[in-house]
Amino acid sequence: MLLATLPMWVGNSYYINIASQILIWAVLALALNVLVGYAGLTSLGHAGLFAMGGYTAAMLLANGHNHFIADLVALAVTLATAGIFAVLALRATGIGFLMITLAIGQILWGIAYRWASLTNGDNGINVSTRPEPFGLSLSSAPSFYYATLVVFLVAVATMAVFVRSPFGASLTGTRDQARRMTALGYNVWLIRFLAILFSGFWSGVAGLLFIYYNQFISPQVVALTTSAEALLMVISGGSGTLLGPIVGAAIVVIMKNVVSAYIERWNLVLGVIFILIISFMPEGLVPGSVRLWRAASQALRGRVAVPAAARQEEPR
């Protein structure tokens, strides 16, 4: 309800735009969370998938194709890329997976930045128009916000269904007890592969929202910083929860806007937040706050506060 009525009580289009940004990044963070939180596979290459959707659509639009075709092809290309990404990265798990995704992310950055004849290099690509679904114009800030909100809600609903589905349960199984899952007859590789496709699809959707919001895409989007920011959103909010990445996206986007208004040192701040979170609240803000809330409410009721059981994790 709060989200749906937001443009009415906020009024100022600057804040509505920030809300749109939060929703866009939240979609990417949710997509990444499927891997980080539920599959136990940490990717540092998601900016590549995000930008793959954005760049493909931007290039097709620049060549005069219509929005429907451009978006459809962009999502197909993102899925295909996610497939290749998965085949390569799943040669390893744990830290090897992360290193390979980092390398693939850098390859895609290299294409966007250096292959100037294809991607226009550092100058980026302009997207002249926003689509008009069912004849509704999305050029104003509130209308674009509503369109983003719809996509965001669909993403959240899909994620919720995904997580509660038997497939989601088996994915968590491969995270916690890969060997046991194999022994039980599950195809661990296939489960992870499909999870990466699912995550890639929503990353591509986020990429489409991103180019329509900014009406521009440049290699900066593909940089490691973007992957790191997305990962920070997931981890700061709390990976493996649905609310966590959304809260994380809100925190990072708001901080980025606030910090950039005062100083140019966003990367420095990003680095410091990373180190602080790792050092003091490694489980993320949402589970961390839940833990504190439970401890506090139990203490109020006069019971002995039992420390929350440490999350069981497979030794990496």
Binding site: L88, A116, I273
Partner: protein, 286 residues
């Protein structure tokens, strides 16, 4: 003909430079299993230290060694006070070093501005030597010579000295190594410092050739990563072969397909991952 020869010499020089970078990464990531995403930052920060000293009129070798020493101290402190608390927990280590890399990058941008720094090649290393009617720039040859010396020294250190044996024991089985009286924590700090120092030394060696500029850190990090994945984690020989392979691929790729040079670099890595995931010289870990 001479174009190809120039390319070959450049390739070997770049290979030597990459070895200085990736041998340290191989020690830290391959041997100690710490996924250090700050390695490119060590290279860049070391290079900035070096160019600052050179601008102050110091001798090239003094600058390179001083920068390596400074980086060893910084690396040792990072290992001792930040990474040690997360021992064995790789994901937090990745995030911590990633955060650190962003901080270093931004601080460098603040202190040394966004303009590239390219020091002159030192006087006594300038010029060319003539061998069999062909001309070779001395500085490029010196880089290769340094890389070869470092490679041999590291090999001797890790495989043939008592210290190397202790390091290997500490990596293979820390609790047992501690029981027999090896100070594993100190050793790890030492190895990490050594890796950081090598990266900084490479940074200074590379400065007259590559120049130093913001973003160099995240350009070098993937290169170190490719070399180590290609050669096999923990294998010094692998790092050496991988470095020269990438050196050749980069220079020839740049000359023949300038648009795609950066992408071509990753192709052998992808092939290795598909065909031989443990790397060219890696051991299969069960």
């Amino acid at each position: 003909m001479s174009l190809w020869l120039t390319l070959a010499v450049n390739s070997i020089a770049l290979g030597g430079l990459l070895f200085l970078l990736s041998s340290g990464f191989s020690l830290i990531f391959g041997l100690m299993r710490i996924p250090n995403l700050m390695h490119g930052s060590f290279f860049m920060l070391g290079a900035y230290f070096g160019v600052t000293l050179l601008a102050g009129g110091h001798n090239f070798w003094v600058a390179a060694l001083a920068s390596a020493a400074a980086m060893a101290v910084i690396g040792g402190l990072i290992e001792r006070f930040l990474l040690r608390r997360l021992a064995g927990d790789q994901l937090p280590q990745v995030l911590l070093t990633l955060g650190g890399a962003f901080i270093v990058g931004d601080i460098c941008l603040m202190l040394w501005t966004g303009d590239p720094w390219q020091p002159q090649t030192p006087d006594h290393l300038r010029g060319v030597v003539q061998v069999a009617g062909l001309y070779f720039p001395i500085f490029r040859l010196v880089i290769v010579a340094v890389a070869v010396v470092v490679a041999i020294a590291l090999w001797l250190l890790v495989d043939w000295t008592r210290l190397g044996a202790k390091i290997r024991a500490g990596v293979d089985d820390p609790p047992i190594a501690r029981v027999v009286g090896i100070k594993v924590s100190q050793l790890f700090t030492l190895v990490f410092a050594l890796g950081a120092a090598l990266a900084a030394f490479g940074g200074v060696m590379g400065a007259p050739y590559l120049s130093v500029y913001p973003g160099l850190d995240f350009e070098m990090l993937p290169l170190a990563l490719i070399v180590v994945i290609l050669g096999g984690t923990g294998s010094l020989l692998g790092a050496l072969v991988g470095s020269f392979l990438i050196g050749f691929l980069y220079n020839f790729g740049q000359a023949m397909f300038p648009d795609l040079a950066y992408v071509i670099l990753f192709l052998p890595m992808l092939m290795i991952l598909v065909l031989r995931p443990q790397g060219l010289f890696g051991k299969v870990v069960s």
